[in-house]
Amino acid sequence: MLNKGKPVIDRERCKGCLLCARTCPVKVLGPDSKSNSWGYYPSMLIDPDKCIACGNCFQVCPDVAITVYKL
């Protein structure tokens, strides 16, 4: 029985490196088409319901821009 989770991304901290999207095993994350105030295209939740709260995105984020909650 898998956990359900919710990652929260700080849009302004994110630099759009998308390492989180690369490492997410269930493909919850992807690039936003709208940029933030720095000109980066941050990561966003494209399929939030799939999140299993594994924390991989948090682990690889170089900007600690992601907080992960367990639902």
């Binding site: 630099k15 390492l19 682990q59 909650y69």
Partner: protein
């Protein structure tokens, strides 16, 4: 909703100057997490030299001392000798430790200095725009090895395996190599940092954690591709794991009297 993974307290919640995808950010977070878990924020001092880590003092919410390039282990020696109860972190890149500062690093290790070196190995010189580092791989492009590192023909020597190099020094007690390419390796690296910091606070030294990191900007790859490059090229050459661990076994329940 239960918070599972959040921002560590001893790292300031501000955007960093590091490039998108840079490994420094993850390494900073691991250090801050271990410091939080060990309750050492008020006792932590980081020495951060020239290199991209020159910015580290903006992000860690504790004392810092910025030494000249390569002299980081000497400055850390001065601090730790005078403040032995503090957690002293000697944070260096490949130029600082393996080029200009090799003498200082080897001799600090040889004296068994009780601070912990965090050595960020990204096989290139980042801050100055991508020159060849002592850790640059054979055949790897850098601005000062434009035809690819050529050890013999162009006399550019071979990449240096720092943990292995230091392992013959008796004063060097814990030499481990981690990587920040995958969540699994990131968690293993955190354990290495924790082992090193705990040894330091028990009064043991010298401890060093080498961490393979991506440098997308100077490798001229996207962050995504830079992880692939690290996995394909660096990990086979720089083996991960505890290269040397001669730390005293941590005391268990009863120790038999002699």
């Amino acid at each position: 909703m239960e918070l599972l993974y959040g921002h560590p307290k001893s790292l300031k919640p501000i955007q960093t100057k590091y490039c998108p995808g840079c490994g420094h950010g993850v390494i900073h977070r691991l250090i801050a997490e271990v410091i939080d878990e060990m309750g050492l924020q008020t006792k932590a001092i980081i020495t951060n030299p020239v290199g991209c880590s020159i910015w580290a003092e903006l992000y860690f919410d504790f004392d810092s001392v910025q030494p000249p390039h390569g002299r980081t282990p000497a400055a850390a020696t001065g601090i730790k000798r005078v403040l032995p109860d503090h957690l002293v972190i000697c944070y260096q890149g490949d130029g600082d430790l393996a080029a200009i500062g090799t003498a200082e690093a080897i001799h600090a290790a040889n004296r068994g200095e009780k601070f912990t070196t965090i050595f960020v190995n990204n096989a290139i010189y980042g801050m100055t725009g991508g020159q060849m580092a002592p850790t640059t791989l054979v055949g790897q492009y850098a601005t000062t090895s434009p035809r690819g590192r050529d050890p013999v023909g162009e006399g550019q020597g071979y990449p240096i395996k720092v943990c292995e190099l230091f392992s013959s020094l008796e004063g060097a007690r814990y030499l481990a190599r981690g990587s920040v390419d995958t969540p699994v390796n990131i968690k293993k690296t955190k354990k290495m940092i924790r082992t090193a910091f705990e040894a330091q606070m028990r009064g043991e030294g010298f401890t060093l954690v080498e961490i393979l990191s991506q440098c997308p900007t100077n490798w001229k790859l996207s962050p995504h591709d830079s992880i692939d490059w690290l996995q394909k090229n660096m990990i086979p050459f720089y083996p991960l794991g505890e290269i040397k661990n001669t730390l005293a076994p941590v005391a268990g329940p009863a120790v038999a009297a002699k």
